[in-house]
């Protein structure tokens, strides 16, 4: 992974200053720009961790059928048409007729057009699993899930569950009646004065079954042995529809039959993996050959709202086939996009990738890049940051590096983390507006380059990878992109990763201090320019430092 820039969303902490980048938890506060939203009302960046999500539509990812939300629940968030997944490889299953009349294979992908023999079954084109192995066949090639639904409804777990409910319901009703009949007499007299005391007295007044019977039972009950089979909680005994002893006799409940099967097991693949069977709450067979086809889970389209002001940030079009959005306030339309590159690495990358393809193994290639294209301790490297302006107005950008405080935590590695010095241009510079080609020359005067910068820019343009004359400063401007150079000086004992937080503040003209809602992102150009400043944090990750000792060892080897 090359050097990258991530953007901060302040939702995880109360302060707007991001956590120091060497903390592991800090990585969760930073996101790639394309994952972020921008709320115009709050003038703030929002991320996928803080927005509130609403489902705006359900669809099956396989057949793209839009499922009305009313039937989603009954269908258990699964496609209720013909979409099934292979239980072994999660591939989509296709419906095939059982006995193709002609000599050809007859395994067609489109089941509707198939005119086959009536017992249809599901077939996996990848692992060749077919549903007749588990005794699932269909009379018609359509509405398969509906045909299977009956099977599911009569599943032992749901039947047992309902029986349990029927077992408990009268008891709970009776007890709530009894408690409400004993207590209200007292609470009535108090005019419902205090619900807490009422509740407390209700709790006290209620009988604890076994305890109430304590004395008589110890005297008579135990000696007579009448309570041999009764529990003392005086709960009517629940009789299972199918108890575990009977269930395991068929070899599914973890009893002796299963243990025997396991003891004689020949190949691991005969046993289904945990995730293939862990959603079954009923004791099910362990064996792979008993797995049932899975209905494909539905997906949903989400619309997202700002957590603070509840304005919609993103709203997809309803149709499942469409990938467009009705409302789309993404941060990429508001914040300048920043990319970072290490020129010396880019240069090396060509060589290495060529060698890596020859060698063919990934790990060795990575090692190589670390030593040659990497960042070695005790050296100084230039880096380039390219800022792209998405706005229709020019922006003035000021960059500043957040001060690194070396954490004195006793973590060994982290504590020894040496300061690496970052130097980046601190003077504001401009980034030209995003514009159509014919508008582009408009704001030429805004460039206002001083001489060095111009020179740097020229030099950068001429020999881009090696800007030796000047590395810190504005290197290049083209269209709505400005490239600035920075430099990182690594300490001799440096190790770890070069990661630093950078505050980006940009000023743009805006005629409307409170921009109207909608996704019209261009603050239109008017006569009276009013400037606004927005600042956000980023973390710049230049990559891992190659420690000095390794480096010296290498050198020794070379000598």
């Amino acid at each position: 992974m090359g050097p990258n820039v991530l953007y901060h969303c302040p939702c995880l902490s109360t302060s707007s200053v991001p956590p120091p980048p060497h903390q592991i938890s800090s990585s969760y506060s930073f996101h790639p720009l394309h994952e972020l939203f921008f709320c115009e009302e709050c003038d703030a960046v929002r991320c996928n961790r803080c927005v509130s999500v609403e489902v705006s539509g359900y669809y099956c990812p396989n057949c793209l059928f839009e499922v009305p939300s009313a039937s989603v629940r009954a269908e258990k968030n699964r496609c209720a048409r013909n979409c099934f997944m292979c239980p072994n490889c999660r591939n989509t299953l296709s419906v095939v007729p059982s006995d193709p009349p002609d000599a050809g294979d007859g395994r067609l992908l489109a089941p509707i057009s198939t005119v086959g023999e009536p017992p249809f079954f599901l077939y996996c084109n990848h692992c060749r699993w077919d549903s007749s192995e588990v005794g699932i066949t269909f009379e018609k090639p359509t509405g398969l899930a509906a045909q299977l639904q009956k099977l599911e409804d009569s599943a032992p777990d749901s039947l047992e569950f309902d029986r349990l409910k029927e077992h408990f319901e009268p008891i709970i009703r009776a007890s709530s009646l009894s408690s409400s009949s004993t207590v209200p007499s007292t609470s009535h007299s108090r005019h419902h004065s205090n619900p807490i005391t009422a509740a407390a007295s209700a709790a006290l007044a209620r009988d604890i079954p076994g305890v109430g019977k304590y004395t008589p039972l110890t005297r008579s009950g135990r000696s007579s042995g009448k309570d041999r089979s009764a529990n003392k909680d005086e709960m009517p005994e629940y009789k299972s529809r199918l108890d575990i002893t009977k269930a395991s006799a068929y070899g599914s409940g973890g009893g002796d039959v299963d243990v025997d099967f396991m003891r004689r097991l020949e190949t691991v693949s005969e046993v289904a993996s945990l995730d293939q069977r862990w959603t079954y709450s009923w004791s099910t067979s362990l064996e792979t050959r008993d797995l049932k086809p899975l209905r494909i889970p539905l997906h949903s389209k989400h619309s997202k709202r700002c957590p603070a002001c509840a304005h919609i940030l993103i709203k997809p079009e309803q149709k499942a086939q469409s990938v467009r959005y009705k409302i789309k306030l993404v941060a990429a339309n508001y914040l300048p996009a920043i990319t970072v590159a290490l020129p010396h690495q880019i240069e090396m990358l060509g060589h290495i990738s060529a060698e890596a393809t020859k060698r063919g193994t990934k790990s060795t290639a990575e090692d190589d890049r670390d030593t040659r294209g990497g960042l070695q301790a005790g050296k100084t490297y230039p880096f380039h940051m390219a800022l792209t302006n998405p706005l229709y107005d020019p922006i003035q950008v000021r960059l500043s590096v957040q001060r690194m405080h070396v954490a004195p935590s006793g973590e060994g590695e982290k504590a020894r983390r040496p300061p690496f010095a970052i130097s980046i241009p601190t003077t504001p510079f401009s980034v030209a507006p995003f514009a159509e080609a014919w508008e582009y020359e408009d704001d030429e005067d805004m460039f206002a380059l001083d001489d060095d910068e111009l020179e740097a820019r020229l030099s950068g343009r001429e020999k881009e990878p090696k800007a030796k004359s000047k590395t810190v400063g504005v290197l290049e401007k083209r269209a709505n992109v400005t490239v600035v150079g920075g430099e990182v000086a690594l300490g001799k004992e440096a190790r770890g990763e070069i990661k630093f937080n950078m505050l980006v503040a940009y000023t743009y003209r805006s005629d409307d201090p409170t921009p109207s809602e909608g996704h019209d992102i261009s603050p239109s150009k008017k006569a009276v320019p009013e400037t606004k400043t927005f600042a956000f944090y980023t973390v710049v990750d230049l990559g891992a430092i190659i420690p000095k000792d390794e480096d010296s060892r290498l050198e020794a080897y070379n000598v």
Binding site: P236, V271, W278
Partner: protein, 627 residues
């Protein structure tokens, strides 16, 4: 926690009838079947969009189960720590350093948030603002995690209400009971909790860290010592399998591979016969003497797959490994290499003796599992997958670690149950002993529950010879265990209960010794032990008894600064420190109900607990404080 909501059944008239339970119950059932198809009773109650169904979340440290109440199975089960499964979201330990702890807290918050958001948005596809949530909590769930869960649910997802319900009680509901002794054998720890009439007797709770995590680490070390790894073939040199065999490199045993072995290969064999264990106890010289014939499988071994990888191949695998033994960190206690016998340290000798004893008591087949070769060992010439050969006895006997107690803080599973039973008031013992329920993911191991039953009986057996209770305690400290046990017959007072002991979800119960055992053992519905708590949560949600609700208004109202007057000084300072170290996150609020916040009863503790509580385990406090 259920005290408030789960009201108690009426007691007067039924006590008579319940003595003869068969008739009324059966009649009730025939009625219910005559009514209507049970399916419609569920669907009828739901409105069109079914918003009143609650979300039931069983957040384990390793595996989460989520779904809607009123359904018989969870909608989705997943590892919350998807990047590195088997690294739970939390652990029994917390960092002692304040800054590290704060960092841990932040990461936990973030991961919980991630998981909870994905529950609503990816798994259940539902709007959190319209859904009440039931969180199934283990009684030893640390408070800071509970707070973090509630904080995320209320503040990030803005759910209308959250209620916490005890996993043990819910498991009991799932088997149609409100009284029982529940052992939840999960990933981090196993917790036994007696529950009477829907009231969890929290003060009688017992726990042990012998659970899934311990199983896995044991499995890992056994495989490292006794497993065989066959490197992938090279295209040029067509080496025979024998010369490619080697000891299992640690990098091969990733968490994923271990989990796979645990869930697909391992099971729990019958208990080791006590007589043999005494005879061939782990005496090192014995094992060395017999090591030659241990190499060959016992003649009774029915395993046909042994022939697949010949023993000759294995021998040469050992010899090839002998050459490279200087590279390996652990000097191998693998059988066969007789030349190295002298070099073995005592510890390995014990491991070897243990292995031999297990081998003798196992008839399971060896299995081979294809694994991806580790990146460090991959060279350009090797192709395809490597193979781990898992000896059958490892598959069968790894679980022994759960049935062998360690020191006083790590009682075996049977001991934990019996200790809890010892603390229970005498009148309830018979009732609870006859309705033991085993739940939790680790108890999904095949044969686990029958074996635990046997272990319970054995721990209670009269004149227990010291070493036969735990034939391989000697792996840790052979002398100590033999000293502590005979001096004091710990479970003497429980011995009369032997005929009554019955595990309600035992799939193959032994022949009952009493009517009561007969009526209870194996009579639970065949829900799988791992999902039982979830099913109970779903049931509680459907019956609207899902624990004390905390509404969002209440959460928002709660003043974060206020201290709980009930909390003990020590606890509140700890909690304050925890909350403070969270940094940006608001300090803990005391709106969440928790049994540790209930003031203790002022009366004298029951006599039983005084008598037996001498080596007090303060596991509850330990886990809560997180020391």
């Amino acid at each position: 926690m259920f005290k408030g909501r789960f009201s108690v059944p009426p007691e007067t008239p039924r006590s008579k009838t319940s003595f003869n339970p068969s008739t009324p119950v059966t009649s009730r059932i025939t009625n219910s079947q005559a009514q209507s198809s049970p399916h419609y009773t569920t669907t009828r109650r739901h409105s069109l969009y079914g918003v009143e169904d609650r979300i039931v979340i069983d957040p384990g440290s390793l595996v989460w189960k989520v779904g809607f109440s009123g359904e018989g199975r969870p909608r989705e089960v997943f590892y919350p720590n998807a990047k590195s499964i088997l690294k739970g979201l939390w652990d029994l330990n917390r960092a002692s350093d304040a800054t590290q702890r704060a960092e841990e807290g932040r990461i936990l918050d973030i991961k919980l948030e991630q998981s909870l958001r994905s529950v609503f948005h990816d798994s259940l596809l539902t709007d959190p603002k319209a859904r009440k949530v039931i969180i199934i909590e283990n009684p030893l769930l640390p408070l800071h995690i509970k707070e973090a869960l509630a904080r995320t649910l209320f503040e990030n997802l803005q759910v209308p209400s959250v209620s916490f319900a005890s996993s043990h009680l819910l498991s009991l509901l799932a088997v149609g009971r409100i009284t029982g002794l529940v052992l939840d054998c999960g990933y981090l720890e196993s917790v036994a909790l007696p529950i009477f009439a829907a009231r969890p007797l929290f003060s009688q709770l017992r726990s042990t860290p012998l659970a899934g995590q311990r199983f896995l680490s044991h499995l890992r070390s056994l495989l490292l010592l006794f497993g065989t790894y066959v490197a992938p073939t090279s295209p040029g040199a067509n080496l025979p399998q024998a010369s490619r065999s080697m000891r299992v490199p640690p990098e091969v045993l990733t968490n994923e591979v271990l989990e796979q072995i645990k869930t697909r290969c391992c099971f729990v064999g019958e208990s080791l016969a006590p007589v043999e264990a005494v005879d061939h106890g782990p005496t090192p010289d014995d094992s060395v003497a017999t090591s030659s014939d241990i190499d060959m499988p016992p003649s009774s071994d029915p395993a046909p797959s042994e022939s697949e990888f010949s023993f000759a191949g294995r021998e040469s695998g050992v010899s090839s490994q002998q050459d490279s033994s200087e590279f390996s960190v652990v000097s191998t206690p693998r059988m066969g290499g007789s030349g190295r016998t002298e070099e073995r340290s005592g510890n390995e000798n014990q491991a070897q003796a243990l292995a031999e004893m297990y081998m003798r008591h196992s008839t399971a087949t060896d299995l081979s599992l294809r694994v991806e070769p580790p990146a460090s060992m991959a060279n350009s010439s090797s192709l395809g997958y490597g193979t781990i050969i898992i000896p059958g006895w490892i598959r069968e006997r790894t679980a022994e670690v759960l049935f062998v107690g360690g020191d006083v803080d790590e009682g075996s599973l049977a001991e934990v149950i019996l200790d809890a039973l010892l603390k229970v008031p005498v009148d309830l013992r018979k009732t609870l002993a006859s309705s033991i329920l085993i739940v939790g993911g680790t108890s999904m191991l095949l044969g686990f529950i029958p074996r635990l039953h046997v272990e319970l009986l054995r721990a209670l057996a009269p004149q227990t010879p010291p070493s036969s209770v735990s034939p391989n305690t000697s792996t840790t400290e052979p002398d100590k265990s033999s000293q502590t046990r005979p001096r004091y017959d710990h479970y003497a007072s429980l011995r009369p209960l032997i005929p009554y002991i019955s595990v309600v979800n035992n799939p193959s119960p032994p022949p009952p010794l009493s009517d009561r055992a007969k009526n209870n053992a194996g009579k639970a519905p065949a829900f799988s032990p791992a999902t039982m708590a979830w099913v109970g949560g779903s049931l509680a949600g459907a019956l609207k008894i899902g624990g004390t609700e905390v509404s969002r208004e209440k959460w928002d109202e709660a003043d974060p600064e206020r201290e709980d007057p009930d909390a003990s000084v020590a606890e509140s300072t700890v909690r304050r420190a925890v909350a403070g170290s969270h940094g940006q996150s608001p300090p803990s609020r005391n709106v969440l109900p928790d049994w540790t916040r209930i003031p203790l009863a002022s009366g004298a503790p029951p006599a039983a607990s005084i008598a037996t509580s001498s080596p007090m385990r303060t596991s509850g406090a330990r886990a809560r404080v997180g020391a």
